[in-house]
């Protein structure tokens, strides 16, 4: 059975991060990363969401993808950090139903 988890996290000294994860057993089906943060270029966040599809729902795999995304050349982010994104995605699993 597919589950959906929602979690809202106030990034310390940052913005509000709201994540929704649809997942099946040990695999992520879909992630939506939302909030009042800033990322330049804006469209790039879609790529991260797409890269997270089908990934195993465990911290290491997710950290690698999120980390790579934030280190991409030219990417600028305010109010959001890679750690906050990973932590919030992981929280969604705990609260998912």
């Amino acid at each position: 059975m597919a589950k959906i988890g929602n979690y809202t996290y106030k990034v310390p000294n940052g913005k509000l991060l709201k994540v929704t994860v649809e997942f099946q057993e040990r695999r992520i089906e879909k992630v939506a990363i939302k909030g009042d943060f800033f990322i330049h270029p804006e469209e790039s966040l879609d790529e991260l969401e797409i890269r997270l599809r089908g990934v195993e729902y465990e911290r290491k795999a997710i950290s690698d993808i999120v980390g790579q995304y934030f280190e991409k050349e030219g990417l600028i982010a305010f109010g959001i950090t890679p750690k906050a994104v990973v932590d919030t995605i992981m929280k969604c699993r705990e609260v998912g139903e």
């Binding site: 809202t8 913005k15 509000l16 709201k18 939506a32 990363i33 939302k34 909030g35 009042d36 943060f37 800033f38 990322i39 330049h40 270029p41 804006e42 966040l45 600028i76 305010f78 109010g79």
Partner: protein
Amino acid sequence: MKWRLLLTGHNDAYTNMSIDESIMVHVGQDHSSPTIRLYGWSPPAVSIGYFQGLEEEVDLKKCKDLGIGYVRRITGGGAVFHENEVTYSLSISEIDPLIPNSVLDSYKVICQGIIEGLGSMGIGAEFVPLNDIIVEGKKISGSAQTRRNHTVLQHGTVLIKTDVDKMFSILRVPSEKIKDKLITDVKQRVTSINGALGKDVDFNEVCLQLARGFERSLGIELEEGQLKETEIALANEIKRARYQNPQWNHRK
């Protein structure tokens, strides 16, 4: 240096956002001079940030009942209820020496124009990174910036009058239980031109003072102009394709 000043009056949310984007495209293609636009919203509307969930942030049924518009911006940041305010937008090439390369620094440089404008109205305001302007600790203005095709678009709001209760009738809060407390908090944290001065100031007067503020702070000369025909045509195209399109507004 001569820049263009556009005073486009009050328009609906879709029109306002499509005009800003069309100007940005024209400035980026060197078809238009650097531009500062000052405008208002009619009907009042809520704009949400690029990354926000529409239905998570906004009570759409309430908007409909109250005749309030809604739109997703191409800039990040939070949800803003636009009613009694002057909104500014500034479009300039990213390589213009007036604009720092760093997004962080450029917010400060651009916001200085608003601080100058408020100062000439007798309001002592200061910049707080990333993108806020405060008066005696209370927020009076917020801004958001995007950069596309080597062009900077920064737009933001300068509050003339606040109606926090109305704002919270359409913006969703995490829980109904804390709603009253949240409203009280926001009332204490937000101010406006009328609130700071204890008198009513006219929309056009605020526009005039902000325009002069930008002239002084940036060392530019603003010449009042009009939208070009091609800018209006592109704005209409962008409006249809993006801002009026449910797929855009509901994308998150």
